[in-house]
């Protein structure tokens, strides 16, 4: 019999014994506190008055025509605007919910890991709002390539701890956050930034992010129809699971996750865990992992720090294996080109993570249109804005 927190054969709780009681305590709070009217009331008021929810759906007509000039593939292109959330990405939905929970649990110190820095900024923001001290672990490479977010976290009063081990990216930041947590577990709340990690995090994060899909689905129905396909980028998988959840039961709706193919799937420099990984255990969950025959985790690569991770949330592993969702990938250059396309066509500077979803959009729409015998209604999760990536995009030539 499998333990708690499984999605088919994936998930579980693979951590040092010291953390098991803390995860049990968190799971109890998730079940006993999170659903109460008082908690939900406070969270939703903050999501409305502080985060700026609900976020709009934007119809992207010019971008649709640039991707699909003849109109054969795309009937309608809708963008769920998580970039308009306070702090500029979907990460705040999760951070605010978890920190309210931390407060209810009586925790007095917050830690988090971050890759792109969006989760770090979101956690630092929620910590400032709730008056909690906060430390964020970030790979040293990511601190360089996402410097504006490091400055924001510091301005918000968080301590940013550089992580020099391994690939100096998100994986290593999560290792270091887990080491901190195991040391300070009695007082500290670990705010995990994606729908990954040991149970109950994948379930908890998905339940806080599903507001993306719930709102988007209601907006689509207001406009008259469900989309044919929903597209989101996948790092650990939180924005994707957040938008997928609401559509999972709609059998007419195809779900697509886009992973980072880095320099290419056939190189050893990518982060396409679901496309190229194998079943393993990383950071407390059984899921797909990029690792070698001996079980050593391989360092991922992506131009986008938020997708540069050799694991993925366990619920995506199940959605992949059951076929309910399809996972494709986009390379670094495809994403950089897409970021420029979206900026020129729609006046929106998207995060490089999000740009991967746009990079794969044309191929996905053609596939859907072919299967359906008509142009498809497409919904994309625009997970975040790209101010943090200006240096990378400009250096590539996107500013030309």
């Amino acid at each position: 019999m499998l333990g708690a927190g499984y999605f088919g054969p994936f998930g579980g709780r693979f951590v040092a014994e010291t953390l098991v009681p803390a995860l049990e305590e968190l799971d109890r709070a998730r079940q006993d506190v999170l659903p109460t009217p008082a908690f939900q009331g406070e969270l939703h008021e903050l999501l409305r008055s502080y985060v700026g929810r609900p976020t709009p759906l934007t119809e992207a007509k010019r971008l649709a025509r640039r991707i699909d000039p003849d109109g054969d593939a795309i009937a309608e292109l809708l963008l769920k605007r998580e970039d308009l959330c306070h702090t500029g990405a979907h990460k705040i939905n999760n951070a605010l919910g978890q920190l309210l929970l931390a407060k209810a649990m009586g925790k007095t110190r917050i830690i988090a890991e971050t890759g792109a820095g969006q989760h770090g900024v979101a956690t630092a923001t929620a910590a400032a709002l709730l008056g909690l001290p906060c430390e964020v672990y970030q790979g040293a490479l990511d601190m360089e390539r996402q410097a504006p977010n490091v400055a924001r976290m510091r301005l918000l009063g968080a301590r940013v701890v550089p992580v020099e081990s391994g690939s100096r990216t998100l994986k290593d930041a999560m290792n270091e956050a887990l080491r901190d947590w195991v040391t300070n577990v009695r007082t500290t709340y670990y705010c995990v930034g994606s729908a990954a990690g040991p149970h109950p995090y994948p379930t908890l994060v998905a339940s806080l992010q599903r507001i993306i899909g719930d709102e988007a689905r209601a907006s689509c129905l207001d406009r008259g129809a469900l989309p044919d396909a929903v597209v989101a980028c996948v790092g650990g998988g939180s924005n994707a699971i957040g938008i997928f959840k609401a559509f999972e039961g709609d059998t007419s709706v195809s779900l697509y996750g886009v992973e980072a193919a880095g320099l290419g799937l056939d190189t050893d420099k990518h982060a396409a865990t679901l496309s190229r990984g194998r079943v393993g255990v990383l950071h407390g969950a059984k899921t797909y992992v990029l690792c070698d025959d001996a079980g050593q985790v391989i360092e991922a690569h992506s131009v986008s720090a938020g997708l540069d991770y050799p694991g993925v949330g366990p619920e995506h592993a199940r959605l992949r294996d059951t076929g309910r969702a399809t996972y494709v990938s986009a390379t670094d250059t495809e994403a950089l080109d897409a970021a420029r396309e979206v900026a020129r066509a729609e006046g929106i500077v998207v995060a490089l993570e999000t740009a991967h979803a746009f990079a794969a959009l044309g191929a996905i729409a053609r596939r859907e249109a072919e299967a359906r015998g008509r142009p498809a209604r497409m919904l994309v999760c625009l997970s975040g804005r790209g101010d943090k990536d200006l240096d990378t995009i400009t250096a590539y030539g996107g500013g030309k």
Binding site: M1, G3, A4, G12, R13, F14, V15, A16, E17, T18, L19, V20, P21, A22, E24, S165, G166, K171, N175, L178, R179, V182, T183, N184, V185, R186, R278, V279, G280, V281, L282, H283, G284, K286, V289, C291, D293, A294, G295, Q296, V297
Partner: protein, 278 residues
Amino acid sequence: MHRIDQRFVELRRAGRKALCVYLCVGDPSLEASGFLALEAIDAGADLLELGVPFSDPTADGPTLARAAQRAIAAGATLERVLDVASRVRARSEVPLVLFTYYNPVLVVGEAKVARLARAAGVDALLVVDLPPEEAAPLRDACAAEGLGVVPLVSPTSHAARIEAIRRASTPLDGAPRAFVYSISMTGVTGASPSDLAAAARDAEGMRRAFDRPVLVGFGIDSGASAKLAAGEVSGGADGVVVGTALARRIEQAASGDEQRRAVRTFVGELRRALDLPD
């Protein structure tokens, strides 16, 4: 009786505390680890934990994380660590515990790992990130080969949790009883010890709860702290596990000869301290 259980019976009969020495195998090289293991046995180690280096050792502090990086660079894998185990086994009857993170076991395959471990003369596995709730398949695979799986308890394990661990880790038919690993503090390996005397007292309670030998580990870095963590001769823990402090000495030694001398000297110091009367 299984070799590892026999060892605890003998130690108890002699009124001695067990000294379990952890080595990160492959640091500095696979060949050197074999020699260092034999050196530790000569100097008085009663059991060895042979560590499989892992790329993402989240339960380890900087010293053992660096040792793992060196070992991986030197080509250490789970299967090569088992080659070292069989070389040690050819020279000694000391109980051997394969210490690993779960991913290498899962990727190589639980049944295969158990089979290879038995062939190499290993007595039990200890998987740091595999709580008993997740360990049933590995326990079955190990029991089929006559191997144990060592459970861990931590200062955060409350009474109900200890009972759950006890139940889920009850030795299966054919498997040794082995021991229970009691973590002395909340933290990663190599952090400075907190209250080792309290850890020894907790271990005594744990021994009553589990009715199995209990070894205390984490933060033991000298003869004096080993003695403190082991507790009184008549009570306390059944012994101690020492890892980081030895890895640090191996790291700081300038040559292979010096490494062997460092292991001999330090393990000897631990041995003498543990054998002192109260």
